[in-house]
């Protein structure tokens, strides 16, 4: 009896010690979370209802910032630009990365070399990427017009042409598919070989097994890559900041560029916060909607 209570006591003491150690080890995150995640988010809600240029005292303005974020012509234009970019960039990116992944799971030579080459563009510093692509699209001396010229396409003004600036950014995004591709390659490697063999024995053509086996089995990864790509596309702006600064005629003024400008160039901290929350709600809304739609087309093995 005595030994038993002794044992229990020791157990709880050890338990308590583990609790304390647990909190101690997690302290960096606990501090970080409250100081730099939870507090900023709440603070940002407060900011949204104030006008504040950081120099004078903040003034309560009620819903004015939110109203402006929802009606301002430039804000709506930025939203349209980001949506346009996302709608056209993401599907093509997915097709490219999936096709490349399929090709790289075939028994060709130097597969790891190709994989490294396709991955490379996304690890290049974004400033360097932006600078090079700005020159790639140069109307007179860029390689874009040069290469298109081989196929008889007349030279275009690209980043200087209001109609072609957004398509140019979308085109550039096709180079940034390395991450998606690696995920697809990993997924394709996990498809059971017996399944493919069974299909082959049943006389299914390559194309048939692609659409009836490979793509259905890959839908969870396609879905995952799509969700991440949409979130990222809505937030793209550093290339636009460097290459066009939002021009020509605000055609490449993306949402985050608009937020950045209002916050750090015009010092409208309240309005910028309202814009940021607007974007946040749109992105979260999109993501939730996709999860609902996903039930219809994403296949999970039971």
């Amino acid at each position: 009896m005595a030994t038993q209570t002794h044992y229990k006591e020791r157990l709880t003491r050890a338990r308590l010690r583990e609790w304390i150690e647990g909190y101690l080890f997690a302290t960096p995150f606990l501090i970080g979370f409250f100081a730099f995640v939870a507090f900023p988010m709440l603070f940002s809600i407060w900011l949204m209802f104030h006008r504040w240029d950081l120099l004078t005292d903040p003034v309560f303005v009620g819903f004015r910032n939110i109203e402006r974020a929802l009606t301002d012509e430039l804000a709506l234009k930025a939203l349209y630009n980001s949506a346009f970019y996302t709608v056209f960039a993401v599907p093509v990116q997915l097709v490219i990365s999936f096709t490349l992944a399929l090709a790289l799971t075939q028994p060709i030579l130097f597969r790891s070399l190709y994989r490294a080459g396709f991955y490379l563009p996304i690890i290049i510093p974004v400033v360097a990427t932006a600078i090079v692509w700005q020159k790639v699209f140069h109307p007179d001396f860029g390689i874009m017009n040069e290469v298109l010229g081989w196929f008889g396409v007349p030279p275009q003004k690209w980043l200087l042409d209001p109609n072609l600036a957004k398509p140019a950014f979308i085109f550039m995004s096709f180079w940034m598919i390395g991450r998606q591709m690696v995920i697809f390659i990993a997924g394709l490697g996990n498809i059971p070989a017996q399944l493919m063999e069974a299909a082959q024995i049943d006389g299914a053509s390559k194309l048939r097994s692609l659409f009836s086996i490979i793509i259905p089995l890959m839908t969870p990864l396609i879905f995952y890559n799509m969700v991440i790509a949409i979130i990222n596309s809505f937030q793209t702006f550093v290339p636009a900041l460097i290459m066009t600064d939002g021009g020509p005629q605000n055609e490449t003024l993306f949402v985050v560029l608009n937020i950045y400008r209002n916050g750090f160039q015009f010092f409208n901290m309240g309005y910028a916060s309202a814009l940021a929350w607007e974007l946040f709600i749109i992105v979260v809304g999109f993501t939730i909607a996709q999860f609902y739609i996903a039930r219809k087309w994403v296949y999970y093995e039971v």
């Binding site: 583990e18 997690a26 995150f29 900023p40 900011l47 390395g178 991450r179 990222n232 809505f234 937020i259």
Partner: protein, 304 residues
């Protein structure tokens, strides 16, 4: 019986199929090579142009390979700005980032992986939720917070570290990189508990266990996290742009951008500078490629 009919029926069609398959693969090989050239095109053009004479840059049709490589472009590009200083600044920020991530994330990941404490699962859920949080929502309030702390002012701390570097690096010391914590936790969970129990019985404390048992067994995940966080800090543009005031404290990314804004016609110098900035990334990529692939394949994140 089957074995007798099989060979008589199969060989011809089988051989034809095999030939077709080989042709298909050869065609694929050629197509993929063309695609690869397309993917590397802008980068190769940048490197080649960094060695061109000015007249070759602005020539029609495009000169793809410079007649005589102008190595002087590099000298000129690197001396028109205090490039060594910017490189040093960048590496200071990278070192603070990588060390912060390794220290704080391994502590936190160990706590989430092994220790039982009330609220652990709740906080782990919060950690995963922050992964989905767009950076932009906290960008502005965090700027104001750092301003209150005095970290947006000019000046240094400890006599050498610019105050402006604190907003860029302190969050990494507070394990605010959910992806890395997650990666490490998953890895730690795969290490047999028995090793630790034996050490606990021998009277080792948790910190000793982490330092002497867990971390030495976790080199692959530490390498992955170190590589990712180095690149994240090295390639970052937005945070340095917002926080770093004085030109003396600029990073390479900021220097490149200002060069691009100022040097309208000197592409060869701009490309030379960009190539130099690219070299460390390229070296790391070549040396540590398998860690990239592992990291991305297991978490689905990494890169941009």
């Amino acid at each position: 019986m089957e074995t007798t009919t099989f060979p008589t029926l199969r060989p011809k069609s089988y051989r034809r199929q095999e030939i077709l398959r080989r042709i298909g693969l050869a065609v694929l090989q050629v197509v993929m090579t063309l695609v690869l050239i397309t993917f590397l095109g802008p980068t190769l053009w940048m490197v080649s142009s960094s060695l061109k004479a000015r007249t070759e840059i602005f020539a029609h049709p495009i000169v793809w390979i410079p007649e005589t490589p102008q190595w002087g472009n590099y000298v000129q590009a690197l001396t028109m700005m205090p490039f060594a200083q910017f490189a040093l600044n960048t590496f200071i920020i990278c070192a603070l980032t990588v060390s912060g991530v390794l220290v704080s994330c391994s502590l936190v990941a160990y706590s989430f992986a092994r220790l039982r404490w009330p609220g652990r699962d709740f906080f782990f859920g919060l950690l995963l939720a922050t992964m989905m949080l767009p950076e932009i929502v906290t960008l502005i309030p965090m700027f104001i917070e750092f301003r209150w702390l005095g970290w947006t002012k000019p000046g240094t701390i400890f006599g050498f570290l610019p105050l402006n570097y604190l907003p860029l690096t302190v969050p990494y010391w507070l394990a605010l990189s959910p992806l890395y914590v997650f990666l490490m936790r998953q890895f730690f969970k795969g290490i047999p508990v028995e090793l630790e129990e034996a050490a606990l019985i021998d009277g080792a404390n948790r910190l000793q266990i982490l330092l002497q048992i867990i971390l030495p067994l976790s080199k692959p995940v530490l390498a992955t996290v170190a590589v990712f966080s180095f690149l994240q800090a090295y390639n970052d543009f937005l945070q340095p742009l917002i926080y770093i005031g004085s030109r003396d404290y600029w990073t390479l990314a900021l220097a490149l951008r200002s060069m691009n804004d100022a040097q309208v016609g000197q592409w060869e110098l701009l490309f030379a500078a960009s190539t130099v900035v690219l070299i460390p990334v390229l070296v790391i990529f070549i040396v540590a490629q398998r860690y990239f692939v592992q990291g991305i394949a297991t978490t689905g994140f990494g890169g941009r």
